[in-house]
């Protein structure tokens, strides 16, 4: 007990000390009630249609009941949401938010590195995503190499300790990348530096083939060893562990999802063929801008597609991208999601989803699925989130209008029944925060010097697209 109390004081001190940097959400929160009742809302359940004038009861982090005239405990938090809409928290299946590093791009196969090791829970863009109704992120390694690092699926529990961000039970995954980025087509190679292999789409295929050939051998070696152990053979020496190949063995065994960055139709088919050859499945093609050209092949393989709504022409391999991609692939039977790949775009994925209605006439329900249950399926968390159903996690948002309308915004975002964004609370804090900011600016250590070198500024925001898959114009240093 004592240790917990000390830890709490320590945490509060840290929160207090850092509050001037990460302003809005780092304020101490009031204790969460056991129950929350949201009344009279339009519920966009996703899997069970739209329920008008209905209530949703949250108990201890789960959706306990959905219906009309629900009753809550006396001490419950009751929110009258008349005229408002409740939808499941948006799930962003391609994010690099809160990552202090994106690309371990020095090798073409970096399956040994983990995004889990570089999570920054104080990234203010997390709060901004919450304010757009987003509750979960698939944090992917970058696309600099054919086989990249391991992903992390998180709930955006901004202000909580980092361990509480990790989505319990989400399927482990790994990033692959095809096309211009692993080729490093758009990177500047410094004079005197040898280019990293591969430099063509031919080479990308060979890198993946080589890695899985080695992984298959490695798996055999371990299988043989385990069989020998089972036979109680004597004097056995265990094989040497290979941290690069272990995740690929998990892919071969179906225990780890492949999320493959790709653009062109030919490279999509290439990966399908190699996956078929080695006997694994690609869980999602990411971006997959030309997916519409090979929709039936993607569907036949059983892969999902996680895409931009309408980005195109930012590089050559994006020149044939069309905003009808979601509609064509959905009709071919592919599970499609809309992702952000950008801290900016993450804040308005509702509008990205709505674009699938404009381009290709998906229904409202199909459009909503693109940012809820479909990404949940793609991450293996569909039993926990992605729809409003009794027993699921209470990860949801209250919108002041229909979330597919440009005129709507989020009022409140819940994760596990706890409020992580509330517009009224945010507005209420502002006067105090501005006062505090003014005081801090007046404090001697914070005054800008009249001349000389300015003090090192706090860690700046990452460029909004310098390290995501859209923009790869970095200097390549091995």
């Amino acid at each position: 007990m004592k240790r917990t109390a000390t830890a709490r004081i320590l945490l509060l001190t840290v929160v207090w000390c850092t509050s001037w940097i990460n302003v809005p959400a780092q304020q101490p929160r009031p204790a969460e009630p056991n129950e929350t009742l949201i009344r009279n809302a339009t519920l966009l359940t996703i899997t069970h249609g739209t329920l008008e004038n209905s209530d949703i009861l949250i108990r201890r982090g789960k959706i306990a009941a959905i219906g009309k005239g629900l009753k809550a405990a006396a001490d419950a938090r009751v929110i009258d949401a008349g005229g408002k809409f409740v939808m499941p928290g948006i799930i962003d299946c391609h994010s690099h938010s809160m990552l202090d590093a994106i690309n371990e791009g020095s090798l073409s196969v970096t399956s040994m590195v983990r995004t889990r090791d570089v999570l920054n829970p104080n990234d203010v863009d997390l709060y901004r995503a919450l304010a757009g109704g987003v509750t979960s992120l698939n944090l992917l390694h970058g696309s600099a190499n054919a086989i990249g690092g391991l992903n992390t699926v998180v709930k955006i529990k901004y202000g909580h300790p980092i361990d509480e961000f990790i989505f319990p039970g989400a399927m482990p995954g790994i990033k692959f990348a095809l096309g211009e980025n692993p080729k490093r087509s758009n990177s500047t190679v410094l004079p005197g530096v040898t280019r990293r292999y591969p430099g063509t789409r031919m080479g990308v295929e060979e890198v993946i083939r080589d890695a899985f050939t080695r992984a298959r051998d490695y798996k055999k070696t371990w299988d043989e060893y385990r069989a020998a152990v089972a036979r109680r053979d004597k004097n056995l020496i265990p094989p040497r562990r290979d941290l690069q190949l272990e995740p690929l063995v998990e892919v071969l065994e179906g225990k780890r999802y492949v999320h493959a960055h790709c653009y062109r139709a030919d490279e999509i088919l290439m990966l399908i063929n190699i996956a078929d050859e080695f006997g694994f499945k690609v869980k999602t093609f990411q971006h997959v801008l030309e997916g519409y050209k090979v929709a039936k092949e993607i569907a036949r393989h059983g892969a999902g597609a996680s895409i931009f709504a309408d980005n195109w022409a930012y590089k050559i391999e994006a020149y044939d991208a069309i905003p009808y991609n979601a509609a064509i692939m959905t009709r071919a039977g592919v599970v499609v999601s809309m992702n952000s790949d950008s801290d900016e775009r993450a804040r308005r994925l509702n509008i990205e989803a709505a674009k699938a209605m404009r381009y290709g006439d998906l229904t409202e329900e199909q459009a909503l699925k693109l940012v809820t249950i479909n990404p949940a399926i793609q991450l293996g968390i569909q039993d926990r989130v992605g729809s409003l159903e009794v027993g699921k996690d209470a990860d949801l948002a209250i919108w002041n209008g229909h979330p597919l309308s440009v005129y709507s915004r989020v009022d409140t975002t819940f994760i596990d029944g706890e409020i992580f964004f509330d517009r009224q609370q945010d507005l209420a804090q502002r006067a105090d925060l501005l006062k505090e900011r003014a005081q801090l600016e007046q404090a001697e250590p914070n005054r800008p010097p009249a001349r000389g070198v300015s003090p090192q500024a706090p860690r700046g925001r990452r460029p909004s697209h310098a390290d995501d898959d859209l923009w790869e114009g970095d200097i390549y240093q091995p």
Partner: protein
């Protein structure tokens, strides 16, 4: 011959009888721009790239959102000779007019994006041959966007079929980037597209520490303030000197025109280009986002008696009263950018437009995009409306306001008799994502609703 035209030629239909030199050039281009030539650049062949003819049209029984006045329910619009000829509920339809049944549909003025590089860049990365936004050097007042606008860029059709019918296209490099044009997004030649070919001079107002304009969010490095301040002062001085030189140049040329006995002053293409701007006859667009840059630009414009417009304006809400007092309009390009500072409120930029509107500052909303995403302009306005801007102002911010700021408000931006017939017919609210465009008129020409994207969709959607 611009490279993009070459590319369109070689990708579309190669001329078997091309002279040998041309062939060599094409081969060279193929080698240099191998990635670019791998896929077709430009409008699909079915679009043709030929300006459609003007006609006489009557859109009947539609809801007409005039923007400048009240909506007209069950109204009729007559379009003839490129203009809106008649408008109202009791309008006689000229014989021979093509009639369009507007029941259930709404007619809006075409949207205008005042902060793009449309036509100046096809593919930003990996195809340098298609990028014509930034000239070499710091001072390029004589670089004119209208010269390099590619009328056959695929971006134009992709953008217009979503209801954006006009744009300001701007060069972006150096300190003085060049001259922006107001264009309609249809035409076989740049001239056919031009509404105002030389509409504004574009100046990147220097930022202390790094160059203004362009993409924000750079990693903050320790800055030597003394050096950085001196550098930006030097840059401002560079711009000032050139503009003063242009003033003097204009006076000398005028004097010589009146009195040929005077020594003949040398001609200068650079200074000549600046004369109308330093005389306050045309607009000067200052790219500036931060408070200090905007204050600097306003002071600078006042000193040199320029007609300033701010482009960017992320911090405009902070100096709204100054903008109002000086009557400096702002083209907001950052509505959907992440807030500038880590401790900005999450909706700081969403709210920017609303705060300007409440103060009475002249403003409009732009995507600030080079080309591919200009079609998303309505959602920038929609977000501003979600955060306090009245819906009617959100609509004006992408139609009438940009027209007024660019001094073409008497010709475009609203539905009024005598205005250019740039009209979008939709099945719902123009700014809503789920609405669809049904008919499109630019300059009184009915424009087909196909683009590179609809063509690829048609080609692949039924692939079995």
């Amino acid at each position: 011959m611009p490279a993009s035209t070459f590319l369109a030629t070689q990708a579309g239909r190669q001329d078997a009888c091309a002279p040998k030199q041309l062939l060599i050039l094409i081969v060279l281009l193929l080698v240099c721009l191998a990635p670019a030539s791998a896929q077709q650049i430009g409008n699909p062949p079915s679009e043709g790239g030929v300006t459609p003819p003007r006609g006489t049209y009557a859109i009947r029984n539609a809801r007409i959102v005039t923007v400048s006045g009240p909506d007209i329910e069950n109204g009729t619009i007559v379009i003839r000779d490129g203009k809106i000829e008649a408008l109202g509920t009791n309008v006689s339809i000229p014989s021979g007019a093509q009639s369009i049944d507007g029941r259930g549909l709404s007619v809006y003025p075409g949207m205008i994006d005042a902060g793009t590089s449309l036509g100046l860049v096809e593919v930003d990365q990996g195809a340098a041959g298609t990028v014509d936004t930034s000239e070499v050097g710091e001072l390029n007042p004589n670089a004119k966007a209208i010269i390099a606008v590619n009328p056959h860029s695929a971006h134009l059709a992709v953008t217009r079929v979503d209801g954006v019918t006009s744009a300001v296209t701007l060069p972006s490099g150096g300190l003085i980037s060049g001259q922006a044009a107001v264009i309609n997004l249809v035409g076989t030649t740049p001239l056919e597209m031009a509404v105002v070919p030389y509409a504004a001079l574009v100046i990147n107002y220097p930022r202390v520490g790094n160059r203004g304009g362009g993409f924000g969010g750079e990693q903050q490095q320790p800055v030597n303030l003394t050096e950085a301040l001196a550098a930006s002062t030097r840059q401002v001085e560079q711009i000032r000197k050139m503009l003063k030189d242009a003033e003097a140049y204009g006076r000398a040329q005028d004097a010589y025109a009146k009195d040929k006995t005077l020594p003949r002053p040398d001609q200068s293409v650079m200074l000549e280009a600046l004369v109308p701007y330093v005389r306050g006859e045309r607009l000067v667009i200052f790219r500036a986002d931060r408070e200090n840059e905007m204050r600097g630009a306003i002071r600078f414009a006042e000193e040199l008696k320029l007609k300033p417009v701010i482009l960017g304006g992320d911090d405009a809400w902070k100096i709204a009263s100054l903008l109002k007092e000086k009557n400096v309009p702002v083209i907001l390009t950052g509505i959907l950018d992440l807030p500038t500072r880590e401790d900005d409120f999450y909706d700081t930029l969403y709210e920017n437009a609303s705060k300007l509107q409440q103060t009475g500052v002249r403003f409009c909303i732009s995507s600030g995009d080079g080309g591919p995403n200009v079609r998303n302009l309505p959602y920038y306005a929609g977000m501003a409306a979600a955060f306090g801007l009245p819906k009617s102002d959100a609509l004006k911010a992408v139609t009438l306001y940009p027209a007024q700021i660019m001094n073409v408000g008497d010709r475009m931006g609203s539905i009024e008799v005598g205005k250019m017939a740039n009209l979008v017919v939709t099945n719902g609210d123009l700014l809503e994502t789920r609405s669809a465009v049904r008919y499109l008129f630019i300059d009184g020409r009915e424009v087909k609703l196909n683009s590179r994207h609809t063509d690829l969709n048609d080609a692949f959607k039924n692939r079995k």
